[in-house]
Amino acid sequence: MSLDILFNQFMSGIARGALLFLVASGLSLTFGVLRVLNFAHGSLYMLGGFLCYTIWGHLLLPLFGFYIATILSALIMAASGLVIELFVLRRLYHRGWPEQLLATYALILIITDLVKWRWGGEFLSVPRPKPFTGAVFLFDFPFPAYNLFVIGLGVALAVFLWWLVYRTHLGDIIRAAAHDREMVAALGIPIPWLFTWIFVLGAFIAGLSGAVAAPFGAVALGMDIEIIVECFAVVVIGGMGSLPGTLLGSFIVGQVYSFGIMYKPELALAFIFMVMAVVLIIRPWGIFGRPER
């Protein structure tokens, strides 16, 4: 096996990891602050993809159509996130996590059906947007330029979230609330609104990543379940609610998938679950996570 094939697998693993990071970071952020594992995060991602397809089709702008569609999809998903938080999750914070999990599970059923009703069961595709249509050569090896765009976006989101969580006043509140919610509330910070805006941000990221994923593969029913299960693996490996953990988890899962496909395509997913099971057994709270009290 030659070195350039390994390099190619490595790079496609990085690209996949970047997409996983886009989705998983929203999931992890929501869980870190709200302590709600949002099963429906993948559904918001899927809806973002479908919206991007439809808006892009209506815009007919060859140059910026995709980018405008992406931002609009993300904004629409943020608005849906607002509705979901206000009308569903807000009623359930004082209840046990099984009910919260089941409520987001119910949202999956509803969103999947709405997508089926509006878009049907076909595979839809969005062409790669303008400057990223071709291939670039890295060390004389062709590599899809769009993958570089996804990687760049992943890095940008990581930097943005790092800045938000560790360098702003809001970030101080986010970290404090993740640590001790009652204390933060006692200091006069309106926790319900913090939760709302964090959930909206998570939904925005989900919509954005779904739109970005549209030219990456196909937009279709089932892309939600496919991604959410891998995202669970990412946040469990890295540590739920931890930003560096999500980054590392995305990298690991992307690489395991990419090299797993090369070794035995039908078992690529199984390898991911094996890694996840091993991490859960050795360090149940993940590599960067903190054990919960």
Partner: protein
Amino acid sequence: MGNASDTKEEKVLRRALILIIAVGIGLVMPHVLSPFYLMILSEALIMSIFALSFNLLFGYMGQLSFGQAAFYGLGGYAVAMLITKAHFNFWLSLLAGVLVAAIAGLIVGYFCVRLRGIYFAILTLAFGQLLFVIVYKWHDFTGGDDGIQGVFPPGILTSPKVYYYLIFLAFLGTTYLLWRIVNSPFGYVLKAMRDNPERTEFLGINISRYQLFAFVISAALSGLAGALWAPFYRSVAPFYLMWVKSGEPVMATILGGANTFLGPVVGTFVMTFVHAYVLGFTYFWPVIMGCFILLVIFFLPGGILGFALEKFSTSGRENSGYGRGRQGSSGDKKSD
């Protein structure tokens, strides 16, 4: 918790009466219902076994397994493969289905019982998906995404009416077995672990071993449900192991009431019959189901049966289990 006027004899008598009526209704059903609704009833009974086995872990042990469908599916696959490929005896195949699920439960459970709360849920989900992927991709052995067709029960059991009686018997047996289990010393240890794991451990009880034992029983009974389903439906498919299937007993149990013994059965019956009814006029039943679940979670916090018992019964709740009464007392307070 009995009412003051409610003596023990009255309670036993009332239970016996309800049981006799229920069994009587169950026995005459094949002669009353149309073939379609008899099929739905059979399905509801099988799924009730599945949900009851899930609730041994959830309602009584306090751990949510999101990979229960893997055991259901393995039970079904074991029966389907033994009957179609090895032409094995039907009854021995059923037994083998239960056994395969129990062994899988032993292996998966060995890892899962080390974890609590949401981590337990995710690890069971991961193992379930792992088993699903293996069945789905191992085309030569399991038939992959084609599944297995032509799983016929022998002789007289091909009649849906006769097969219904087999299912009904299995349902009664499972219910009785689980009733005995949750009211045995072992069942009380499970509830103690749910309500206060630290104190239970201080009493010298090996939590992991007890949880593993409960996990294996639950897996075996889920396997029984799958094993009964395969010859009833004449086929198996990989999605029986998938997490979507694992969600069904979770939904049914929380819908019916996790802190009542028969809550999972009530939830399953409501779900199965609503499904059958809604499919009569629209394909979009998940959206209706989803809204229905949200409404029950919002307005009936203890589930349908839990709510009904609290409102109308003098005997109250069977066990003060998972739900409102539990918060603050258990190990997963952190999730509040």
